[in-house]
Subunit: 197 residues, 4 copies
């Protein structure tokens, strides 16, 4: 999951803070909050040892929150990019799933959902769990917004968005465990949609 929003340019290399967030997001997705040490993040980000506490005064938890937020924003962009050009909810969902599946195939990494990998097992449970909830509700309401835009009633849109979210999370996990991206491509067919969309 590269970052299209921050364009690296020869004259102005991506700043240290962004490199830290990017490295942390990738590593936490693969092995979870406690599975990755700061040393590894620092080395992958090519950041000097002491610089972490400059950008993230509270240390690892701060970095985890920031990297989960960044990864969540990437997902929101992906959702928007998939549903905006679509003429029906099914089409949007299908595009999203195919993009996601391709990501697995290209990177070959089979990382987990960056938000849950990062925040579900953090040390200070309450703030992490609240932040994860906030981010996930953002995903669901983004999907719901497109559902309404594409003709669902608010209630149908809410139900469908949440249902799609759960299938996506469960499917992501099953794809990961099977190393098979087709699981994700098959998700839209499982949605129980009304006749209109």
């Amino acid at each position: 999951m590269t970052d299209p929003t921050i364009a690296p340019s020869p004259s102005k290399p991506r700043p240290t803070k962004d490199r830290l967030i990017f490295a942390a997001a990738n590593l936490f997705s693969e092995r979870g909050y406690h599975g990755v040490g700061l040393a590894e993040i620092l080395s992958q980000a090519q950041a000097p040892k002491g610089s972490l506490y400059h950008h993230f005064p509270n240390g690892k938890p701060d970095l985890a929150l920031a990297s989960a937020t960044w990864a969540s924003d990437q997902m929101l962009l992906l959702i928007a990019a998939s549903f905006e050009p679509a003429d029906s909810f099914t089409e949007g969902a299908t595009t999203l799933c195919h993009k996601l599946a391709k990501l697995f195939d290209y990177t070959g990494k089979w990382s987990g959902c960056p938000v849950s990998s990062t925040l579900f097992e953090g040390p200070d449970n309450a703030p992490f769990q609240r932040h994860a909830a906030h981010l996930f509700e953002g995903w669901i309401s983004e999907v719901k917004y497109h559902g309404q835009r594409l003709g669902f009633t608010e209630e149908d849109a809410a139900t469908t968005a949440q249902s799609f979210y759960m299938l996506l999370q469960g499917g992501w996990q099953l794809a990961r465990v099977r190393r098979d991206s087709d699981v994700i491509r098959a998700l839209p067919a499982l949605l129980k949609l009304g006749d209109t969309c």
Copy 2:
């Protein structure tokens, strides 16, 4: 998730190995493989430090594998107990979801899926991922078996079982993040079932 298969009796207390597995399964479910230290498992199991390597020569990974297997078996029992007395797939699924939801309400713990929490972020990736795949396929095929028994064709049973599995995993995660067991109770209604069941 208590253990109905091993009945503690005054004359024969639960042996050390079982106490280790039980404690590990609970702690890993809550905070993940890397989030729990052996010291905590040992103290919760009231087991002496050195005894772990007697029962699990390969240490923490061995214990994680055993505890995930045990927790998976508990889930298989729960699936069987829910579907066996049922007259339709929907009824079985509903019972299962209600039992699961009650578990969250009673324990108040909001643990994650014991298998994914334990095995997804383990150190030795390949064996852990393979074992998780094996256990999850067991869940799916158990549900599929009941689907066929209750009238589905094999193909429909397979699709429905996998779909139900994904909704369950995604729903479990959403319930956890929202601290709301109703998310799970609402799952059966989201299944796209044929008319016959």
Copy 3:
């Protein structure tokens, strides 16, 4: 350094105690007293875990003393076998060095002197050091005995035996570090011998 004194026969396999001594002597020679764990000795000797304290009630130190003694006896046999058929001290010394060098070439193991490897770094210094002294004096006096038998005065024999012993130990160590058995073969030429022998 196999054991010619204990002939293994199909009907009567080498007893556990001997297997333990043999395995310990080999392993201690290679990596020293503290460098080898009982688990490895037990497994190499194919001896059950608890049997060690039957044969060696004081545990590892007992086993170390026994294995050093056994290895020292092997060396005494080698000295005798080399000097007894010899017509001069030089001839005996040359035979001994060649046999020793061949041992390195055949086994390919480059172990250290079994006595010093085992006893110099033991835990309870005094008894270990005294035992090592006792064993080494045995080597020296065996060589001295053959020196006198082959024509040296007692004084010359004593000096030559001790000198040969030191060259042997120093040469063994240099051969080990260079992985070159010729160092040992060259030792006899370095002895400062009187004209008569």
Copy 4:
């Protein structure tokens, strides 16, 4: 074996790294690589636990390599200090042996050769053995250099240096086991020297 090269001054105390090397060299010499725990080294060096891996990222093996190198350098200084003012090889060798013998008498410690004690039984055999070989060849060539300077042909110098080295190692070991420094003082008389030196 104190360190004459690093003069402790009130304004600038010997840095942590040097204290670690010094403590490790002493302890390894006495009880071997595996016979000394890091805890003891740390406490003797008055260094905090975590600082070891700051100075020696590879931990105990790194420290062992560094301490053996330092101890070897001390020996090279001792060789130079003994042979440089000498008018003959015998005189240099005698001075060296007497200095060494005094060291045993003064310290009362009967340590082993710091290089072989430290490196012969290390865990990662190959690098340790290669480093020991490198250090020992340094000793031998230093002696050989003085041999040539004092009139030996290159060949005689090489033979004598190696012979002296082996007597020194063997004598060191015998002195240690007998607790008798006179063994070392007697070494020069055992050298088989040509008439010229």
